[in-house]
Symmetry: C2
Subunit: 308 residues, 2 copies
């Protein structure tokens, strides 16, 4: 028995990650895809989701890889048709929309997965176990990359709803909230918004866990030279643990204890299959909630305009 999947949206993330991950899993079968534009070789394309589902009633689940702004509408239609839904990150444009998708899936009795891919980086579960074994004093996030290098041509990222530096930063927050097992409470936020943009290019967050652990986070989209995707944890006893390269390597007291190749999307699809098999959902709002709360309490400063 395989789970028959339709892909909604055939852009870069679908081609780079979803298609290989689906094809690499014997429990999954990629039936077709839909996109108003073109399709990669070997994908049966329909112009929209309605046409795809009408032509292939055997599709049991859809992976929604469109821009976030249309995910709530599409997820609602898929759920109403009785399909399971796998949502690229962030699961929707707003927390309210994401909560609404979770409620619709629960009511219809189908599975929904908010695909926080960075949580499936190789070091994350080991880091979580390290933290569960001892009292934690503090956490630092340093997530610094060059937007011009990693996001060429993605103008939408600095538009309203594009989230700016939180587009990569939410990956760090998705790891953080997994490590905490709950919300990251935003106490203060400083947001630097280029004068010609609607979203921040740098952000500093002062947060606390629900158990009072202090968390400070720096997100920078103008990092030249060494790129940094690291989370540093210090225990009450003074031991240190760090995740680097977005969770691909883990250090304890300065020594590398884990260094594995990344297989985030294959792991996510294994998780999705497990959820479908057991009739459960996994729509964790906490990473997107931390971003929304940072905007809510953020102190804005206007900085020099950004031109790619």
């Amino acid at each position: 028995m395989t789970l028959k999947i339709g892909l909604v949206g055939l852009g870069k993330i679908a081609v780079d990650q979803h298609i290989p991950a689906i094809r690499g899993n014997k429990g999954l079968e990629l039936v077709a895809g839909c996109s108003p534009a073109s399709a990669p070789d070997g994908i049966l394309r329909y112009p929209d989701m309605g046409a795809m589902l009408a032509a292939h009633p055997e599709i049991q689940a859809v992976s929604i890889c469109t821009p976030p702004q249309v995910r709530h509408q599409l997820a609602g239609e898929a759920i109403a048709a009785g399909k399971h839904v796998f949502l690229e990150k962030p699961p929707a444009a707003t927390v309210g929309e994401a909560a609404s998708i979770a409620a619709m899936a629960a009511q219809r009795g189908v599975t929904a997965l908010a695909g926080w891919h960075s949580r499936f980086a190789p070091g994350v579960e080991s880091a979580r176990n390290w933290m569960l074994a001892r009292p934690i004093k503090s956490i630092k996030i340093r997530w610094k990359e060059n937007v011009r290098q990693w996001h060429p041509g993605q103008k939408w990222i600095f538009e309203a709803g594009g989230m700016g530096v939180f587009d990569p930063g939410i990956n760090a927050l998705s790891i953080l909230t997994r490590l905490l097992g709950g919300y990251a409470l935003v106490r203060k936020a400083s947001l630097q918004v280029p004068s010609n943009c609607s979203a921040p290019i740098r952000a500093d967050l002062d947060m606390v866990s629900e158990h009072g652990v202090a968390i400070d986070a720096e997100f920078d989209f103008l990092q030249l030279g060494q790129q940094t995707w690291s989370i540093f944890v210090e225990s009450e006893a003074g031991d240190t643990m760090a995740l680097h390269l977005g969770g691909r390597t883990m250090e304890v007291n300065g020594k590398v204890v884990l260094d594995e190749p990344e297989r985030e999307y294959p792991s996510m699809y294994e998780h999705f299959l497990g959820l479908v098999a057991s009739g459960r959902s996994d729509v964790d709002l906490s990473p997107l909630q931390a971003v929304a709360d940072a905007f809510l309490v953020g102190k804005l400063s206007s900085v020099e305009p950004y031109y790619e």
Copy 2:
């Protein structure tokens, strides 16, 4: 049997609303209050909540009327001490903090109430019943007041986390989400932020209900002349219903059908007593979520500086 209450924060809202509402309810007894500043006549004052609760172990519930930034910490301490908590609006500075308070109360087995006072305006339940009786086409919110008239000296309102025009606007959103019985999903937001401030002075929201009803909202903090706190609803059949004066009067097809004196806080304390008696909580996140989501997707524009 009366419920013995301690007041945390003795500022304007405590004096104007909480103290008279508690004194006017035979099921409640106001034991003491705390504030680092002064107390109104007839209130036994302590400098902080810890001192108040230590001196009066008979206190069963606290009403937290401090600025939002410290409510999560204080509510956590009160809940840990086994006290029920009544939270002024908004229940906390962020949605994450409010969710955390609800979780702590549930775990400790005490009652928490997020006091969305505008939901207790006389017309709200009648408006809700009118809407439940017919298919709804659209909703318009017009919430326009003069900040200089209603918020003199409240500099914090335009600081980070002060929410600007959403400070009154969240009252409209609390009525809206009660009328909808769920989330208001923010599709687009336009936020006008004075160049010397961190929070909007005008905001336009394009929203939709979970059932697809279109909602458009205009919030204006620079309204001169006629002040407006109104919600207009149109049914699919073309009938109209409106709430005016923040829900104190209700019109159907242009004719006033309800006009009653406001008693929001007395009604809220009756609700709080009912929750405590039945061991329930009522911490609805949806009004604050709509504001956070509006900041998340909002298109910012810088407008002329604001000086009181």
